[in-house]
Symmetry: C2
Subunit: 352 residues, 2 copies
């Protein structure tokens, strides 16, 4: 265990919009299948078994910190864990992704959703956080899915292409839809507040499917619940809050005004566009992002150019955290990821 005196707090400082001696970097899905070390821990277990074993979750959460020297760790877990804790059966089948065999599509199913007690119903998550804090010399990020994204999974019964059931419910039974979102939001605030009490120092809300909504639908059906979660957390914690809306370029007029400390940017959105939107808001915030995960397949020289271009653009933000614009894919070479960390850490800025 590293002594606390040598704690690397660069990431926390950048989240708060303060100048830092170097640009901090971490990667969405940095604890994942691209690492052979992860595969070794993972292979004897099912994915859900792994998620429920704090000793193993700690091990895989620490791997990218040890191997890549990133500036933050993120709790290893899955965004659907609290949906299972709300009383829904959840399966992960290889290749097919998550499946909820009994999707939530009527008032009876919505009424049956319970608001879990995180300590009681998801103790393994909180135990993982406690153990990680003992072991880490970088800040620990807790996380959850954003309400709309979580709703799509439990309404569709898994991943989706067109979000037919979700949008049908939004349009045809808006009161039912909002009731489900209200419950998910309530669950999410309790879950994230418990993560902070257990030791999470930053929280990220993943809105993976926000980009499935046209802007007016995002504003009507997803945004109010992002606001509710952020407001609920502001009342209970003072840790920095990161909001990541995937495929969210056209949602920036709304997301840039959210009461988050950091806006995560997906790789389709030019970083300059996002920084402009954020800087024009009443409450400028830090930005995090946004290299295309597939750019990790670029040859070294072009990879360095692309990373440096983002670092240059990031200098215009109130605070800048380097990250991908979505999660690392399993086929990625860890050496390429390490290269990006080194480029980011050795970056000196465009100013003399």
């Amino acid at each position: 265990m590293m002594p606390r005196l040598s704690m690397n707090t660069t990431f926390l400082e950048a989240c708060k919009g303060r100048r830092t001696s170097h640009v901090p970097v971490w990667f969405m899905r940095q604890a994942g299948r691209y690492l052979p070390e992860y595969q070794r821990v993972r292979s004897p277990y099912s994915f859900l078994e792994l998620c429920k074993r704090p000793d193993l979750c700690v091990e895989v959460s620490l791997q990218p910190v040890d191997i890549l020297h990133v500036d933050a760790a993120i709790l290893f877990s899955d965004i659907l864990i609290p949906m299972e804790a709300m009383g829904l059966e959840l399966e992960f089948s290889e290749g097919k992704g998550p499946v909820f065999p009994n999707p939530v599509r009527d008032y009876r199913a919505a009424a049956a959703l319970r608001i879990p007690d995180p300590e009681e119903d998801m103790p393994f998550v909180l135990e993982t956080i406690r153990l990680l804090r003992e072991a880490l010399a970088v800040p620990l990020i807790g996380f959850s899915g954003a309400p709309f994204t979580l709703a799509t999974y439990i309404i569709e019964g898994g991943s989706s292409r067109n979000f037919l059931h979700t949008k049908k419910m939004m349009y045809q039974e808006p009161a039912l839809f909002q009731e489900i979102l209200r419950k998910i939001s309530d669950c999410t605030v309790r879950y994230l507040a418990a993560q902070v009490r257990a030791g999470a120092q930053v929280l990220q809300l993943f809105d993976t499917w926000a980009g499935a909504l046209a802007p007016p639908d995002y504003t009507a059906f997803a945004l109010p619940w992002v606001r509710a979660v952020l407001a609920g957390l502001r009342q209970q914690t003072d840790v920095p809050l990161i909001y990541f809306a995937n495929n969210g370029a056209t949602l920036l007029p709304e997301t840039s005004r959210l009461d988050a400390d950091v806006l995560g940017i997906d790789w389709r959105t030019p970083l300059e566009m996002a920084i402009n939107a954020v800087n024009q808001a009443e409450n400028p915030k830090a930005v995090q992002g946004n290299l295309d995960p597939l750019a990790l397949f670029l040859p070294e020289k072009q990879l360095a150019e692309r990373v440096t271009a983002l670092l240059d653009a990031g200098q215009q933000a109130k605070g800048y955290i380097f990250n991908l614009g979505h999660g690392i894919i399993p086929e990625t070479d860890p050496a390429q990821v390490k290269r990006v960390v080194d480029i980011v850490h050795s970056y000196q800025g465009t100013q003399p």
Copy 2:
């Protein structure tokens, strides 16, 4: 057969940016599975068999014109037909979508791609067009996939989630990638020019997967070939050209400057944003779009409001064609689609 005198040319006029007495409307995938009449024609055949039977293609192309009274017909075919004609084995399996069992991933496979003679190798497409022109009293749209989109299918071997093989080739073997795109573009110009000679009165390029590219990659790897196809067609035909880049909000700085007559807009992009971008370009063009296909599940009143909002916005464009922002999904109620046509046709504008 309707006499030519009663030909409804509203759609053609709007493509050319001229004022029209009403806003013309058609729908991407208007000839498709949501229509029971289509299902009846389709069910005895495989999808590829259907594509190769001009009599049946004519029948399903005419159905939406007869049933919905749209202002344009679109050739019934599939964007992958010319890829098969380039010498690749192509299968459509139910549920799994298109599959190329021998994907194009090296120079040998790229060299084996032949440039088809449309009359020789895809006669059924041209015959369908000839027959349709005899039967139609609205303009006929021919189409093809845009080169990048077609390349993803033959490089990945079908649909894709991350476009790993495509992007790896772009980044690691750019000369091979560009050679494949060059051949596809060459094939596409010949194919579309032949469609015009057979009678197509407008052409649409579908760039379904353009939005899989971050803007700098779109500019480097997809845009030059869109330009090449448009330029090749300008030399050989004078029909209006429509370019549709799906999920293309952040590509607008480039796409708005293309030498197309009409820019098709996806449903994630606010129509006002697209019209502003297009109107600021040196060569303002008409726009087409962009209702979320899932908005067809809205109750009547809200559907009317959403359609009217688009019609109001469309008045700011040099020419405006109502359409969806992507294809109709199979679960759609045809009565809802018909409702949209009626709303569009009865729209009187915001000016007295």
